[in-house]
Symmetry: D2
């Protein structure tokens, strides 16, 4: 086996990233080495690439390898590893838990007290090889093509947010037409939501939302979302609202559009931490409001995988671009310059996995 690999490194505390040849790392008895087949871009990667205020405060050490949505083949497994074995095709959970805090011991390891994030707190997946502890390795169904295996992690965000309580027979509002919002539309549709609203600002993305199964597209530049939703729900408001925009105004509209006793998920990240929030409305609403971070390990992964492999859910309309990993700069520029024309971009270290049209 090779001793070195190519990896996209954040080499300095500033804009950009560069491809470097570095040693393939060793593994501990409870770790696995993965040969990457595909890795996809997330907004977080863009923040780090652009080196915005968040990245400056969040990233502790450079140099390191970025990227965290990925799939590949296990090529080496430590001596006490039992969950996967060499030859298995795996994806990885981005949230690396400590396994000994209270959350890790009570089924909430996705919000571990000592959480490490792949591609943020340790070397990530925009590389030819990746080392992770066994506990975050997820054995894939190989009937699913690589570009979809790679996006299971963000799809898992959408599944976790949408299905934290069941949606069957319910009216569901998704605020925000980014990739997670578009995924959420498909998840709600596949799992029995009977009235699905999607809000957004861009016709290209809203049109993908329609393909994913939204019953009603609301272009918030042209329509009053609260009014549209109330009119369509006997004036009650929607059973479920998923806030996936991170926009203050959208959040406030979402609370206004929630029926009393409904369910609301906070998933979008706001520019500032302190956001003017209608707390009295929340009190009188009497509903349930969730903070959504990561995915259940691994309940969400089973749902994601089963929805994909059973073909109940088709997320291909959201995967808009496939490129070689070497085209990373172009990929980042697309995300930065024309975000409204981009769904998910998947990068391939070895283009033989870039199976155009395979799905």
């Amino acid at each position: 086996m090779a001793q070195t690999m190519m990896a996209l490194r954040k080499t300095k505390r500033g804009r950009g990233a560069e491809m470097q040849e570095i040693p393939i790392p060793d593994i501990k008895p409870n770790e696995v080495l993965i040969k990457i087949h595909a890795s996809s871009l997330c907004g977080t990667d863009v923040h780090i690439y652009e080196w915005d205020a968040w990245a400056q405060s969040r990233i502790k050490t450079v140099p390191y390898t970025v990227g965290h949505e990925t799939t590949g083949e296990v090529v080496k497994a430590g001596s006490v590893v039992t969950r996967v074995k060499e030859g298995d095709i795996v994806s990885v959970e981005t949230h690396i838990p400590c396994l000994h805090c209270k959350q890790c011991l009570t089924g909430q390891m996705h919000v571990c007290h000592n959480l490490q994030i792949l591609g943020v707190d340790r070397d990530g997946a925009f590389a030819e090889y990746l080392v992770v502890p066994e506990v975050v390795a997820w054995k894939n169904d190989t009937s699913i093509p690589p570009e979809l295996l790679s996006i299971q992690e963000p799809l898992g965000n959408a599944v976790h947010a949408t299905l934290i309580e069941p949606v069957h027979g319910k009216s569901v509002v998704i605020l925000g037409d980014g990739p997670i919002g578009l995924f959420a539309v498909g998840v709600a549709r596949a799992c029995g939501a009977t009235q699905i609203f999607l809000t957004g600002l861009d016709p290209f993305r809203l049109n993908i939302g329609k393909k994913m199964g939204a019953d009603r597209i609301i272009d918030v530049a042209k329509e009053d979302a609260v009014q549209v939703i109330k009119d369509a729900t006997d004036g009650l408001g929607a059973d479920v609202v998923l806030e996936m925009s991170g926009a203050n105004q959208s959040m406030q509209s979402g609370i206004a559009a929630l029926r009393r006793g409904g369910r609301f998920c906070f998933f979008g990240i706001y520019k500032d931490n302190l956001v003017p929030t209608p707390l009295n409305d929340i009190v009188f609403n009497g509903g349930t409001f969730y903070g959504i971070n990561g995915r259940l390990m691994f309940d969400t992964w089973f749902t994601v995988s089963n929805l994909l492999s059973s073909r109940r859910l088709d997320v291909t309309p959201v995967v808009t671009h496939k490129m070689p990993l070497t085209s990373f700069a172009e990929a980042f520029e697309l995300m930065i310059e024309v975000p409204k024309k981009v769904g998910k971009i998947v990068l391939f270290p070895d283009t033989k996995y870039m199976t155009n049209g395979s799905h």
Copy 2:
């Protein structure tokens, strides 16, 4: 308005029933009078018609009017009625609650301590008119045709059993290919179950199950259901098992086919109350076992109605027969003589509502 109506009456403690002209009853301040558009046959009606051992012990007084699955128009509403008004098209919940026992006061009125059953404990729906207390009146979505509005009650059994916990991403086994089992297949499919097994004995009904969305049909005369299910679930067994056959052997197979920590619903009624049951297997399984009786009032009705009106669920393959109410004898004979060729039979007091091909 007319003073009398035709009604199918159980006139004596013995086999059969007869159509009689009787007075249209008065209503109390909290009751409504409904002009029936359609009423469907249930196995319970057949037991009463045939006057089997169960019926002999269960039916307290004759004469009375049978039938309980129904839809029609409110033609009179009592002075304190607010839930519906004259002109509304309604269906009715069969479980008439007392409204003052602990269950009624804590969201479980479907298992009221003093439950009365429509068409069993009081005059039912195979008639031109029906009186019920406001509390069981459900205002219908009139975009749904009458024969489907009528079968919302048994469809509600299937929805309640299937969705008492969410099924998205799960493997679901339905034991028994009667109408409720066939409905359950469709419900599971519409609400995101990713692997659906249906067991049965009759090709005609199993074929309807396939149309409803079953991934795998198991003819238990030809195949070992437990083996088929285990083979398809990595040897674990299924996440969810719905026992809708009332057959001892099927129930025992179902427990054997349930994965540890899974979910099981007892819905089928057994010939004898005391059934040899693998209780130690239940203990070691560590799962959740529900008794399923009726439907949640009215969470289940919302789900039923929304699934039908959104067209997410199409149950028309199960509705095999539509007839005038005057053909009741033929309908009962079909249920008794060729049950395996019958899904749901809907009867119409006024044939103008018998809209063939409308759905």
Copy 3:
């Protein structure tokens, strides 16, 4: 029976209220007439008495009778009433539901879309007689003395907030030492919380909190609540935080003191609706945040009643004052002038029910 009664009326849109003789009202077929034994004061009553900004915007019509926490004897029951009968000792739920909206039909009538509040939207309980619809009448356990029967409604707020998820084995923080916060301490203690923190500003009330079972009193004028809680919970923060102060700073501290994946209840009402809230912290926390309004009808009432009648919970330390109803002005002045020395004040239209020392 008498034709008229004394009632404390809000007679004009301004400060104060006056005792007037008015006719005892008639009842509808689904209503009951109650002879009041005891009624207690709530902060809402004080807002209305003082005619503050909230009251000016919230109260729609005068004159009307104020007060909503109460107990008394049913002296007349309408013709279709079955839940209670003449002679029953009852309390009443303040939230009067419409019984026909989606929430009312799905076990959430406490957040009915068309909710009416007793003593706000219709004549209330500071009177000799009260008329309410049967649906809000709760039959009391007569082994409980009248002053405790009267405060079941606010105790129900505390029970609903504290027990919306179980607290057994958990660390629970109660922010705010008002009557509901003090009740919540006792409820958490009686139901198995193993570490109970109470924050407040007043030694008199914090001392009641100690009697109610708090393990750790935090005087926020002297100590840093977040630090105290983190130090006592291995740095994780508490499993459960109940925000019962309505103070912005307290709410922000509460979110900082909540462990990841914990449970938070918004119960306190804020001066302004839009409150600067750390939403990103909520997202990353990944926990569950409830708006708490009213009480479950009637699950909460069963819990309240059973905790009191079993003597598992003793709330007498919170009931600091008992007076005749005619002393209403003195009672309001106590609440306004020396709130920190007052827990609950109970008023008695007939002093024979003012059984000092009975509990």
Copy 4:
């Protein structure tokens, strides 16, 4: 450190067990070596000692070391162990999960598909040293004395069964006065159950039940349990029934004593797997029936530990005997000959931990 240790070994497929000197085993990178302080006897140990039919079919290989309820000090930790470290006082979970089956990956590792049981499938705890994988090590609160640390495992059964749904404000029936039933009484009492019934046959044990907090003791030799329970619950039956006797008649009584829509736990093991069970009553009851196996890992352990260390729960009345490990034969004979006079027996390899009267 010593090279050998004393261990109570099942040396042959027949009655009895013998103390032998054997090598202290090595550990793997993910395992820990524990110096035992105390280990308690379970009915399972007695079955194995007596070599009854169950033991003959269940035990796969001899010789091996028996015992599974235990506490001790970590004296060696493998290289990838992070949950505990040398010097920590730990207890161990008996259910050793595979960590890679579906249950292990979805928060149900206590019902792992490939479960190994300590002291049954691998060397157990009646010894001076014990090796277990890190995943089952539970770091103890050292303010709790050793004999109580040791019985946390069976106390965890009681906590899991009692609290699988909350009991606050509820009526709870515990069928069977064995140690788990007695623990369950205390757990229900500490966590807010407001009416607690205990059934049994032996005055000595029923009297312990009274000390643990039962409101009503039912000697089933003298009283009709169903009648007593119905009389005390307005004829409804109890909210919760915990079947901890493994007796057919008791189980049938329990189902008869459960109110409609109630909660039932199957915990007791029956002599035969197929037990005549009133399944139609279960269907019509409409309640929730759980199979209870093990404890939640590690939610239950947190509850157990917190209840003990906060002194909310005192289980000392159930710990009736403390002896040196060398007196094992006497201990087994007590369990076999006079079970009705025995609660829990704790054995100490080193009598310096046998702190009589310490609690």
